[in-house]
Amino acid sequence: MKRILTLGALCLGVLSLPAWSQKTASQGIDEYRAMLQDGNPADLFEAKGEDLWKQRRGPKNATLEQCDLGKGPGVVKGVFVELPRYFADTRRVQDLESRLLTCMVTLQGFNGEEIAKTPFGRGEQNTLTALATWIAAESKNMRFNLPQGHQEERTFYELGKRMFFMRGGTHDFSCASCHGEEGKRIRLQDLPILTKNPGDGVGFAAWPAYRVSNGQMWGMQQRLNDCYRQQRFPYPGFGSDATVALSVYLGVNAKGAASVAPAIKR
């Protein structure tokens, strides 16, 4: 109740201010954002994810505790800030979510194609989101350090760069249209520059995140998916090479930035 009353007061405050005191309105929005930091519902998804990692599930009735996310079977601490990376067993560069899906398939016997086709927010996609939230939390405040030692990893960086600047769709938008310059914003939403390290806890370092406006927990796959939707692009497949390559580009550029995931957003 207290939170809602205070939010209501803030909203009224913003609406009644004339345009010339715009800075005050923006400050009001900043205050609202600061208020959101305490009590992040992402904690609920984190707890769920940790349970799902340890729970026997799927046709094989197995846990995910042997899943190799890049630092050996079962190691979860520090893996988030080194993904995406190359995996020898699948001969693919994979991000967190596609790698979790691989483990759900190989260790637990789930149907990977079906889960990849399931829309976000439904069925086993919720499992992936909760798992990703917990894994990300296990690297909280650690600095991004994606490996580029394998040729595939370097190739995917170059692919990701081309994807980032690829103009398309009805509006000729590329990722760079919004994220290619310093200090820009879309409406009132600040846009981090993603062609280099945009700073701690920003851009690549801010997802998975809980979005208050729609009460949803989003992983990086969903964030990229929704960017493409608004760019008027066709639908990027879940865990597809295009999305993984983009993540490599963003993650390598963010080298040294501290991860704040799971974060909270408006």
């Binding site: 194609e113 690829m166 103009r167 409406r187 939707r229 066709p234």
Partner: protein, 223 residues
Amino acid sequence: MTTPVLFSGRARAVGLALAVSGLSACTSGPTVAELDALTDAVVKASFRTEAQAKVERVTQTDETNRLCSQADASGKPLDEATAKAIEAANLKSIRWPSDGRFLGDWKQGEQIAQSGRGLTWTDGANTPNGGNCYNCHQMDPKEISYGTIGPSLLQYGKIRGVTDPNSEVSKPIVEYTWGKIWNSKAYNACSNMPRAGHMGILTEAQVRHIVALLLDPQSPVNK
């Protein structure tokens, strides 16, 4: 143990990636040309049509987009001749008002500028599209929720000395404004701005209203 195939396109793109890497194994990795070809393959394998968002939107982009994407990715801007050629081709594609009327109703223009609807895979095929204008530009000074990706359009007509949009002396500005909204790349080859008329985002009637929003002396933009 076989590699689990999560969806068919992926295996092909991976195979291509490895084959390409294999080709240049003796040197330092795939060449620029190989990377460009690989990008096309990955795009084709990764995206699918969803509702009205057809996959051709990325697999069949036009010359303008392909050349500008290349310039952006390589960090080497287009040379003057290529840029001018792109601008000329886009200029040629502009459809001027069928009835000769360049200005419509600024009030409707404001609504179109405020709307960001249309053409995504969650938009119905029959709902009118919006102009998305406030996402990038400032226009009506009363609207504080504006973006800064594009320049501010505050006092657009006033700054350009347009007191009567129907006069002969205003004609060049009026035409430029129509042209810029219809096809922004006619004046700047690799402009960040969408080509609202040319790409079928806005109708002739809608463009007319936006031109009025910017040039009508009664519009809040010019007050």
